[in-house]
């Protein structure tokens, strides 16, 4: 029963320091096509590896998808998000991206498929208005929050207003059930 208290305290501290949920009206003077809907198109379900939305480029993926992201004029949206996996155990800047991320050569399907994947979360729950949202998704392979939540390539609706603060998980905590599978629960 101590955790709700801790969450509430953290929220108060964050609230006092002027931070809160990301507003939707951040204007960086650049159009971001990677909206929630566009992103949903690229993943089979929330947590699936996105298909590569741009044409094949020469050189290694991490040249642009590095630890901070890059401007990539003329390629895709013009902004390459940072690599979210650099802190993932077992992964590094030498990992093989195309093991999971593939190009698309055709919009056609072989046969129709009725699969409906888990939807991307729209937001994290808050204890009250102004409280830091809990993290509404699994974090494994997404340890680098900045990849999606900070910088120019972040979707406006999930872009953090305070990305200068180094340690996100100090205030944003996991939502219950986002831990790995516990076999003791499996009957």
């Amino acid at each position: 029963m101590r955790k709700p208290f801790a969450v509430a305290m953290a929220a108060i501290i964050v609230g006092l320091s002027g931070c809160g949920a990301a507003p939707n009206d951040v204007n960086l003077g650049i159009t971001i096509p990677a909206s929630l809907a566009a992103r949903s198109q690229r993943v089979a379900y929330s947590g699936a590896p996105p298909v590569i939305p741009h044409a094949r480029q020469s050189g290694k993926c991490i040249r642009c998808h590095n630890d901070v992201g890059a401007r990539t004029p003329g390629i895709g949206s013009g902004l390459a998000p940072a690599n979210p996996h650099l802190q993932t155990p077992g992964m590094s800047d030498q990992s093989r991206c195309r093991q999971c991320h593939v190009f698309s050569q055709t919009p056609e399907n072989f046969r129709d498929n009725a699969f409906v994947g888990l939807k991307l979360p729209t937001h994290g729950d808050q204890a009250f208005k102004g409280a830091p949202p809990v993290i509404p998704h699994h974090q494994f392979m997404r340890e680098n929050c900045r990849s999606c939540h900070a910088g120019e390539a972040a979707r406006p609706e999930i872009r953090c207003t305070h990305s200068e603060r180094a340690r996100c998980v100090q205030c944003h905590v996991k939502q219950s059930g986002n831990e790995g599978l516990d076999l003791a629960d499996v009957k």
Partner: protein, 761 residues
């Protein structure tokens, strides 16, 4: 657990990823790696998967196929009811399960009565769960008294089985996945691990990042994604790996790198039949209908090995292989270095080989002669392509000559043990092995086999030299096919049964490193689909063989598993209890006192080894509990390019598709990534023919013609005079071109080497 109560305002549509989902464990449905997957289910549907962070296999990572597992269940053309071909041969009619099962029982009985047990057959796969394979082998051998039971694993890893059996008298590797962290040098013998076993390859890459002295050596006939990451790419002539391995052995001896203490204590030498004319290739002349060559072992010695290897000097091996002498020396130095861990890895390049067992023997020999075996970071490790090729085809023993736990139908004591566990009258199990896969389909084509039941596999895409197996309904045969989607194999069937897939049923798979993994049913199968084991048991009941499956209705999986488990207890093949498997992310056998074994035959790891250090090949009773090092020569491939057919042609997989594509092609992301087959052509050949990527070309072999778009400078790049075609595309059947030449011992076909012509279409 966090118990914070969310305070969402009514206008917010909160949808956390996990909310409302139930997660359970399962191994991946695709390759033999056996990645742990968490399956997320809501309202009876699989909505998502995650790599299981706690799985010791994949530690949370998956490959693109694994991440797209949910989609394989929801193709709109899933088979949902039994379908019988209409009397006029055109189209299908739905029938009830009762009618379908009665019909199968009637047809099997009819054939038994008219032509005997050698005319009925069942063809399954390394995707059968342990339950499916166990039900099949018990029904066939104990009920129908027929050994005509085969898995498609004969096309896949039979050569690895025979390699391990001829040398250690026990199937399955001694090493395990910890070797990916413990090893220093990783030698790829003709396998494209980056695409075929990507999650395991990522473990090697991570080892290399942490330990920059780690090397990846890619011995290959074609530049692949694996080559991009390799420290050395050694391009060899197709089939010359036999000469290369002998050349390495030659130099190890010459350089004084034999571990004599190890060899004296643990190794015996054997030699088999080597006459090319006597052995043949299983597809020419009087072998074209039936291939029965049997090797005969005689004793040999280290001295004889030295004489035998005199021919394999670096200059001669260089000429045969195309490698430079320096490259051959480099490999000999790697294998001969006692201070660096060496792991040999191989898959279909070595196994689908007219001398695949020999090649397996030679790789194992390299580890035996240097004593680099059964130690962390030092092992030969054969990689498998199907999720339960090991657990079912090999361990349950669904090959036509095998019984559970490495036993053979030809050995009276083995049959007796099986009959005892199965509660059968002595003498029930026939001693004559059934047909091996290629001969089985040849017999079906001839009409010697009349009735066949095919489950979880697609032979009318995957058999070599496919056109010789063409089949028309109404030809006096009766073919039943159980599958989850329509395929070219269901197309030729007389009766099609809808099967439950993956987590639509309870199951057990066994992976490459001897890890047995259990999962529970997570969702209902669609329509009337049923699991394969249930289908078999129901037919057996209708044939009066229900006593074989006298289990309770609500706990039959566990009861069947515990019965199967009796075969391996106390003989080094001990599986964990079903109860324990439910609670673990798989365990590697032998499991004794609840503890798994990472390294077999190794003191300190294997509970069957009582000595305090070193190794003990305790399963090899025939060799005085030592391992056999086989002298095996170089033989040329069955068909080599000539003036009329000047190109080598090889087939294989791509990362995105699994085998014949019947599952992965139905997943949007995977299909869109690689929508159709193509032929990889070297830039120089393409320029000479005026061909670019996308140009239609005809690939012509002595057996068939295939029209495909060319790919030049693509992901894979064959050398000049060599082509590669992936086999996943049912509209572009690579196997109309391939030859049905086989390994002389395992009878596994060689899909990697035949001669073709290339023309602009």
């Amino acid at each position: 657990m966090l118990s914070c109560t969310p305070g969402s305002t009514p206008t917010q549509v909160s949808r956390a990823e996990v909310e409302g989902l139930t997660w359970s464990k399962a191994p991946c449905r695709f390759c033999g790696t056996g990645c742990g997957v968490e399956v997320g289910v809501e309202d009876g549907k699989v909505l998502a998967v995650r790599g299981d962070e706690a799985s010791p296999v994949n530690r949370g990572l998956l490959c693109v196929k694994g991440y797209h597992l949910p989609g394989i269940l929801y193709g709109k053309d899933r088979l949902t009811s039994p379908l019988r071909r209409k009397a006029d041969g055109r189209g299908w009619e739905k029938i009830s399960w009762d009618d379908a099962l009665d019909l199968i029982a009637e047809k099997f009985q009819e054939t038994l009565d008219s032509d005997g047990p050698e005319a009925v057959s069942m063809y399954g796969s390394g995707q059968w769960t342990v339950f499916d394979g166990y039900a099949a082998t018990k029904w066939f051998r104990g009920g129908l008294k027929s050994n005509n039971l085969e898995p498609n694993a004969r096309l896949c890893m039979a050569s690895a089985v025979m390699g391990f059996m001829t040398q250690f008298q026990s199937d399955e590797p001694m090493g395990c996945y910890e070797d990916f962290e413990a090893g220093d040098d990783f030698i790829m013998w003709g396998n494209n691990m980056a695409e075929m076993h990507p999650v395991l390859f990522s473990r090697i890459l991570e080892n290399q990042r942490k330990n920059p002295s780690v090397r990846i050596i890619d011995i290959a006939t074609r530049w692949t994604d694996t080559s991009e990451y390799a420290d050395a790419f050694l391009q060899m002539q197709p089939g010359s790996d036999l000469a290369l391995a002998n050349g390495i052995l030659h130099l190890i001896i010459e350089n004084g790198k034999v571990d004599e203490a190890f060899v004296n204590e643990n190794v015996v030498f054997k030699r088999g039949i080597e006459d090319l004319n006597e052995i043949g290739y299983g597809c020419f002349g009087d072998q074209a209908e039936s291939y029965k060559f049997k090797d005969v072992a005689k004793d040999s010695s280290l001295e004889e090995l030295k004489t035998f290897l005199a021919d394999y000097t670096p200059d001669k091996v260089s000429e045969l292989t195309g490698l430079s002498e320096d490259q051959i020396h480099m490999l000999a130095d790697i294998y001969g270095d006692p201070n660096r861990g060496t792991v040999s890895l191989w898959c279909m390049g070595v196994n689908q080989h007219v001398r695949g067992t020999w090649m397996n023997n030679l790789i194992n020999d390299l580890h035996l002669i240097t004593g680099k075996i059964s130690r962390p970071g030092n092992n030969p490790l054969s990689l498998t392509g199907q999720p339960s090729a090991c657990g079912t085809a090999r361990e349950v023993g669904t090959l036509s000559n095998r019984l559970p736990a490495d036993m053979l139908v030809t050995v009276p004591e083995h049959r007796e043990k099986a009959e005892k566990i199965w509660g059968l009258e002595p003498g029930t199990i026939p001693e004559k092995p059934g047909y091996h896969t290629v001969d089985l389909f040849r017999a079906l084509a001839r009409g010697d086999v009349k009735t066949m039941w095919i489950q979880v596999t697609n032979p009318w895409v995957s058999l070599p030299n496919l056109t010789r197996f063409e089949r028309k309904p109404g030809d006096g045969r009766f073919i039943v096919v159980s599958d989850i989607y329509p395929t070219p194999t269901t197309e030729i069937a007389d009766l099609v049964l809808p099967s439950a897939a993956w987590v639509e049923r309870e199951g057990v798979f066994g992976n490459t490193e001897r890890r047995t993994q259990q999962w529970n049913k997570a969702v209902e199968p669609p329509g009337e689909a049923k699991e394969d084991a249930w289908q078999i048991i129901e037919v057996a009941k209708r044939m009066g063989m229900g006593d074989l499956f006298n289990y309770s209705e609500d706990n039959w999986h566990e009861e069947m598993f515990e019965e199967y488990r009796q075969f391996g207890l106390g003989i080094g093949k001990d599986l964990a209890s079903y109860e324990q498997l439910k609670q673990e992310r798989g365990l590697r056998w032998p499991v004794v006192d609840g503890k798994e074994t990472p390294y077999r035959y190794a003191a300190g790891y294997d509970p069957y080894v009582t000595k305090s250090e070193g190794v003990h090949f305790y399963k090899a009773k025939k060799f005085g509990e030592k391992a056999a090092l086989w002298l095996r020569p170089y033989h040329p491939p069955a068909e080599v390019p000539d003036d009329e057919y000047p190109y080598w042609m090889s087939t294989g997989r791509v990362l995105e598709h699994w085998h014949t594509g019947s599952m992965t092609r139905r997943v949007k992301e995977l299909h869109q990534a690689v929508p159709a087959a193509y032929v990889e052509v070297n830039r120089a050949d393409a320029d000479r023919l005026g061909v670019e990527t996308g140009t239609k070309v005809n690939v012509i072999s002595r057996r068939g013609t295939l029209t495909l778009p060319a790919v030049v400078d693509g992901r894979g790049q064959p050398p000049i005079g060599s082509l590669f075609i992936p086999f996943f595309d049912e509209a572009k059947l690579a196997n109309v071109l391939t030859l049905d030449a086989m390994d002389c011992i395992s009878k596994e076909p060689d899909y990697k080497k035949c001669a073709v012509r290339l023309e602009k279409a």
